[in-house]
């Protein structure tokens, strides 16, 4: 357990500089976009007031300002991508960086007096911490943007709706599902995907050229196994009730995850090659 935690700390530390940079970029970009959107709204209001329109008219045309205006904006969505894409790339790179480069740090990792699966788990946990870290940053940014609206938009035009209720229906539901239950389900699927991806990487690292083919096949098989309940639903014309379907998917998800971990364990112990 100790070694596992030490490895997690190690993984976090080695990516920390790039990670901080990423957070800074996202924060600055998002706050700028928020300021732009809010100011545009405010100036539109002022313009219409100067034209002599009543506030009733203006509200009828533009609606009150809420953080939804920001959350559903395309530019905002792009800042989410700015966070997501590097992390997705790092899901591969967190392994490959140990092989490539002048050094071969993978030698050291594989020669550590610890269960080799700790390498797997620590990288997985580190990835999740990176993801959740960005999610937490996003929550903070939303709060700040909420305050920005409060500071700039006149009270009558500010719906003051909390972002908690507004996330539903915006692209943010992907990273911040509306309920805790949904959170675990969504990120559970994410964990399954991560394990599958890691296993694919290890397949490639164990078998090299053949490994790429095997890795792709593995991903396809994993996907098929996961979706078996849906195939059954299709073939039997809807035998399952909705609740049963959900449970079946949870089970198939767990099966895929556990198989991935088992296979990775085997690969790391018996097939991996430097």
């Amino acid at each position: 357990m100790n070694n596992f935690l030490k490895l997690v700390h190690f993984e976090l530390k080695r990516f920390s500089k790039l990670y901080m940079g990423l957070i800074a970029i996202i924060a600055v970009a998002q706050l700028l976009i928020a300021l732009i959107i809010v100011n545009m709204y405010a100036s539109d209001i002022n313009r219409m007031l100067a034209q002599g329109k009543s506030s009733f008219e203006i509200l009828g045309k533009m609606g009150k300002m809420s953080i939804g205006n920001i959350m559903n904006n395309n530019l905002f969505y792009m800042t989410l991508m700015v966070g997501a894409i590097p992390l997705i790339i790092y899901m591969f790179f967190i392994w490959y960086r140990d092989w490539f480069g002048k050094s071969s740090f993978i030698y050291r990792l594989l020669m550590l007096p610890t269960n080799r699966m700790n390498l797997f788990y620590s990288k997985a946990v580190a990835m999740f911490l990176f993801i959740f870290g960005l999610v937490a940053v996003q929550v903070l940014l939303l709060q700040v943007e909420h305050w920005i609206i409060g500071a700039i938009v006149p009270r009558d035009y500010n719906s003051n709706l909390d972002f908690l209720n507004l996330i539903d229906g915006s692209p943010l539901t992907v990273i911040l599902p509306p309920t805790l239950e949904q959170f675990f389900l969504s990120y559970g699927v994410g964990a399954m995907l991560l394990v599958t991806l890691f296993t694919a990487v290890l397949l490639e690292r164990s078998f090299r050229l053949r490994g790429i083919v095997i890795a792709i096949l593995y991903c396809v098989v994993a996907g098929v196994v996961f979706f078996i309940p849906l195939f059954i639903q299709n073939l039997t014309e809807g035998y399952f009730y909705h609740k049963e379907e959900v449970w079946a998917l949870i089970v198939s998800g767990l099966v895929v995850t556990i198989c991935g971990i088992t296979l990775s364990n085997y690969l790391l112990k018996r097939k991996i090659t430097v």
């Binding site: 050291r108 020669m111 080799r116």
Partner: protein, 229 residues
């Protein structure tokens, strides 16, 4: 004792190891000899579990490789096994963190001996100094067995002398060492056992002292005999 029994390995269709068997005893320096590409590095990696082999087995003090074995055996490859962005002291800290058999005092001693600074960044070091750091990482562990892969390749002559000195010092005493090289000059006099490899097989395995006393042959003599056939 490290026992290698009949290991076979293929890369694709090419057979690299064709049933390699030999032993290396604790307290002895065993040298794997062969031209480039005969699989010396592969044998060392196989012993360390860094590459799989198709059949055969490797026993270290009678046991198969497991995670505890890494506190008993270590491998010094020809590339540095630390992140180049690390400073030397960070690398030492890392080793201390994970290995209970890490000997911090010996590490400091070796640092002085190799004339390196803890604050040096590994990526800024010369090739010779990098090799020395690599060696330090291996030698400062209180392990029973050291595997070294081409410790002299591409190193300047002064560094080579320093490294050769290590072999005669207390740093290596009582440990089992397997070393690969294709340049025997520096250490022929240090080797206790020689294992001659070719075509993925062991052609000859012998104690150097016995060979000298009984047949009057040096290692190089035996090599000429065996490889010219």
């Amino acid at each position: 004792m490290i026992e290698v029994r009949d290991i076979k390995k293929r890369y694709g269709f090419k057979s690299v190891l064709n049933g390699v068997s030999f032993t290396a005893a604790k307290g002895e320096i065993t040298c794997l000899i062969g031209i480039n590409g005969t699989g010396k590095t592969t044998i060392l990696k196989s012993i360390m579990g860094l590459t799989p082999f198709r059949s055969g087995e490797v026993l270290i003090d009678g046991k198969h490789l497991d995670k505890h074995a890494y506190e008993k055996i270590t491998y010094i490859p020809d590339t540095i096994t630390m992140l180049p962005s690390m400073r030397i002291f960070e690398a030492l800290d890392f080793m201390k963190d994970f290995y209970s058999c890490w000997n911090a005092e010996r590490a400091e001693e070796l640092l002085k001996f190799f004339k390196l600074q803890g604050s040096d960044r590994i990526s800024h070091l010369s090739k010779g100094n990098t090799a020395k750091v690599n060696m330090l990482l291996g030698l400062a562990l209180d392990v029973d067995y050291l595997l070294m892969d081409e410790p002299f390749s591409g190193i300047d002559i002064f560094s080579r002398e320093q490294i050769a000195d290590v072999f005669t010092s207390h740093l290596v005493e009582n440990r089992g060492v397997i070393i690969t090289t294709h340049e025997l000059n520096e250490i022929e006099h240090l080797i206790d056992k020689a294992v001659l490899l070719d075509g993925g097989k062991v052609l000859k395995e012998f104690q150097t002292e016995d060979m000298r006393e009984q047949e009057g042959k040096s290692v190089v003599d035996v090599m000429r005999e065996v490889y010219n056939q």
